[in-house]
Symmetry: C2
Subunit: 290 residues, 2 copies
């Protein structure tokens, strides 16, 4: 037992010394180019995440227990909820003092003014405030401070395990993804990518899909030719939103109860890039659909 522990400590000490291959040295590297198949595996047995938890250690531990391991080019797709929780991005509603604006909006949409205050604090602007007949609570469609257009500025109210609390997006989801990725690369010795997701509604289409809100190494979209004139060129050459494809695919396994928040994708064709999930936000003036 002691010998095993020593071995584990030794491994983790050695692992912690590994420096990931810098992105600049991976130029032209491509993973999964000849891939005919993609495999998505849930990391099983992750515990409920609490503020301060070491998410990377928990993921590596759970993977080791299930005899899962990383290969070069693997991508971790992870629900923001567990990242946010580990970072303590949790607000106790009882501690929130609603502003006059929040109190006013609360009457318009029938919604807890402390929730609205929290949403306002995470928003650049409210796009639309909607009261729904026969429903307890209205919805605020907001532009999140990072630019995402989504319901309630991505403030997550559905926390069965934390009554009276709401969960925010990470302060800087790209930075969170990059920190996760760097440590996963150090511990595994493999070159990886990370996508942090949230679940958004969509204009025009019913049902929710996961989208990418934080990225490390994985490009938001695959931009085949050089410059970008947004929608026109997208159509002409087909610019896939790779990170959103990964995020949406993750919805196939992330269970409703949130018990499978971390998935490993193997066999995806991609090339590392200095990326940001903010690249996926369409500038208003280029949005032909609005």
């Amino acid at each position: 037992m002691t010998a095993q522990l020593n071995q584990a400590t030794e491994l983790s000490r050695r692992d912690s010394l590994r420096e990931p291959v810098p992105l600049s040295e991976r130029t032209g590297v491509s993973y999964g180019a000849a891939s005919n198949g993609v495999n998505i595996q849930a990391v099983p047995g992750l515990p409920d995440i609490k503020p301060g938890d070491d998410l990377v250690a928990l993921i590596m531990g759970a993977m080791a227990e299930s005899e899962m391991s990383f290969d070069d080019g693997d991508i971790l797709v992870i629900a923001h909820k567990v990242v946010s929780k580990s970072e303590g991005r949790i607000v106790r509603l009882a501690d929130v003092e609603p502003s006059d604006e929040a109190l006013e909006l609360a009457e318009t949409v029938t919604k807890d003014p402390r929730k609205i205050e929290t949403i306002l604090s995470e928003s650049k602007r409210i796009v639309r405030a909607v009261k729904r007949p026969g429903q307890d609570e209205g919805i605020l469609i907001a532009e999140h401070r990072l630019g995402f257009i989504c319901a309630n500025a991505a403030v997550d109210e559905s926390n069965v395990d934390l009554p009276g609390h709401v969960i925010l997006l990470p302060e800087n989801p790209d930075a969170s993804a990059q920190a996760l990725c760097k440590r996963l690369e150090q511990m595994s010795g493999k070159q990886l990518g990370v996508v942090i997701t949230d679940t958004f509604g969509r204009p025009w289409r019913m049902g929710l899909v996961n989208v990418a809100i934080g990225l490390a190494n994985v490009p938001g979209k695959v931009d085949l030719a050089g410059e970008n004139d947004a929608y026109g060129r997208e159509l002409k050459v087909t610019i896939p939103a790779l990170a959103d494809e990964l995020a949406a695919a993750s919805g196939l396994l992330m269970s409703k109860e949130g018990k499978k928040p971390a998935l490993i994708f193997k066999g995806v064709e991609w090339s590392p890039a200095c990326s940001s999930a903010l690249d996926l936000i369409r500038p208003q003036q280029e949005d032909l659909f609005r």
Copy 2:
């Protein structure tokens, strides 16, 4: 060789006698419930599809050659382009007589009036006509006759193998999916699902993703509780757009050159339903984002 051929003919004769298990008898059936992983495989070696081609025979043949086979609960996700081609949904632009409306729009957006006429013939209404500075051709955002909001009413102009032609969506993509599914089930003896996809742009977000435009057995969205008040309930209980998750995931393997238009998904958790891709179109009055 002859013996092999005879055996193949015998197999296909026997297969053609199998009747799929009717959907009504599959009530409560659930696939992949204990699934911890999803596997996506491209059907390799499909030839270019031409009008009148037997897509099911070609898929089953290509799968057999690669020693791939169907299991109960597998889902075929297939690009509409090959389905449309097999159904002859191809328009030779030289045969199109542009209307006055098309000629007028052509001046507004700088676009071939015969393409515009074809787009108009596939549309309920033009949502927006956009000329893009420095680009050869403008874009029409249209409501397709089936209700999809997309560029150019999903009329596909990017056909390297068919210059001077454009490809339309299938006449009835759900019916196409159901016909494909029924014959695949007959030939394989397995219970399957089919999703036909197209590649759409999105409001708010950059890059293109595949979406579901035709369904057989696979529910468009997973509706956990009974009745539907659209967006509010979606958020409350999280109603995943399962068919769009599958479609978006297919983009991870469908190559830009269109050489992998057919993918098999294994391990997805789903329950067969009498479904339509039109269930994924959000009614305008319920769309909080517009």
